[in-house]
Symmetry: C2
Subunit: 141 residues, 2 copies
DNA sequence: ACCAGTACGGACTAATTAGTCAGGTACTCA
DNA sequence: TGAGTACCTGACTAATTAGTCCGTACTGGT
């Protein structure tokens, strides 16, 4: 098993929560999925400037194993896979809101730069791209 | 500069908050200081079973730089240093409470083990150990 | 004299995590 | 026939993070 996975024993709840959020891009993936509801692999990649495909898929797989994201495979050509948050993913995001506010305050305090993840810019193109045939089929790796 | 320190640019608040909490023991240090108010170096080490001295001091220094913990040096022999949370550290901990609850729920869900950090056991010995002379002097490294 | 305890600092190594790059599938369009 | 698209997989390497071990300076107890 190449992917990390610790899954206990944990010292406390924070420790357990940090375990699933640890990873350079996981919190960003959570944020992306929260804000867009459902995203395709390539959309996520574009929304996370600088992420490598390998890391993105690795994190997505781990988060799927941890029950945070749902993976829906559409059997069509070219392939289409949609990722969305599960119930647990949504509740985790809710628990992260306060932390996000603290972080925003910290950014203001120390005057750090903030890279702009252009959300408004590519929403339009996404809507236009969703015209193809659907019908999901639960197929494994 | 050997110690990490990223401090931006950040994608969002969560990213910024994660930056200061990232590190195997940081959330535990936060927890310890929150529950005991003030702790000496050796007390922290005993409270975090498995931590190496090097990691503990490295994390403490980073958290001090990030304005999360306050370091009070008492000029006496043997040396005595007390660590406590600053205002920012306390507010960060407050922001982590929800996350901790989510993690506790997750531990229950997946049935992970939980190592017991004996808090009740060594409180008594701490109280007994605080009899020596004090008078803090703000001295650098 | 010698060991234990206090709070570190630094060199070196091990482990973990992330990144690069070359494919691979399975089908469509020109 | 070859290119292009979308979603990956795996080998290899780089970077980051953590751990081990030893040293400092000083004192109190045996």
């Amino acid at each position: 098993m190449a992917t990390s996975a610790r899954r206990g024993p944990y010292f406390c709840g924070i420790d357990a929560a940090m375990d699933v959020v640890a990873g350079k891009w996981k919190s960003l993936i959570l944020w992306e999925l929260q804000h867009h509801g459902t995203r395709r692999f390539a959309e996520l990649r574009r929304g996370l400037p600088g992420v490598s495909e390998k890391m993105l898929i690795q994190h997505l797989r781990e988060m799927e194993e941890d029950g945070l994201v749902h993976r829906e495979v559409y059997r069509q050509v070219p392939p289409k896979v949609e990722y969305s948050l599960t119930e647990h993913g949504i509740s985790l995001n809710a628990a992260l809101v306060l932390l996000g506010e603290w972080g925003t305050e910290r950014i203001r305090r120390i005057g750090a730069e903030k890279v702009s993840v252009s959300i408004s810019a590519d929403v339009a193109s996404d809507v236009a791209a969703d015209v193809a045939a659907d019908v999901p089929t639960a197929v494994g790796r």
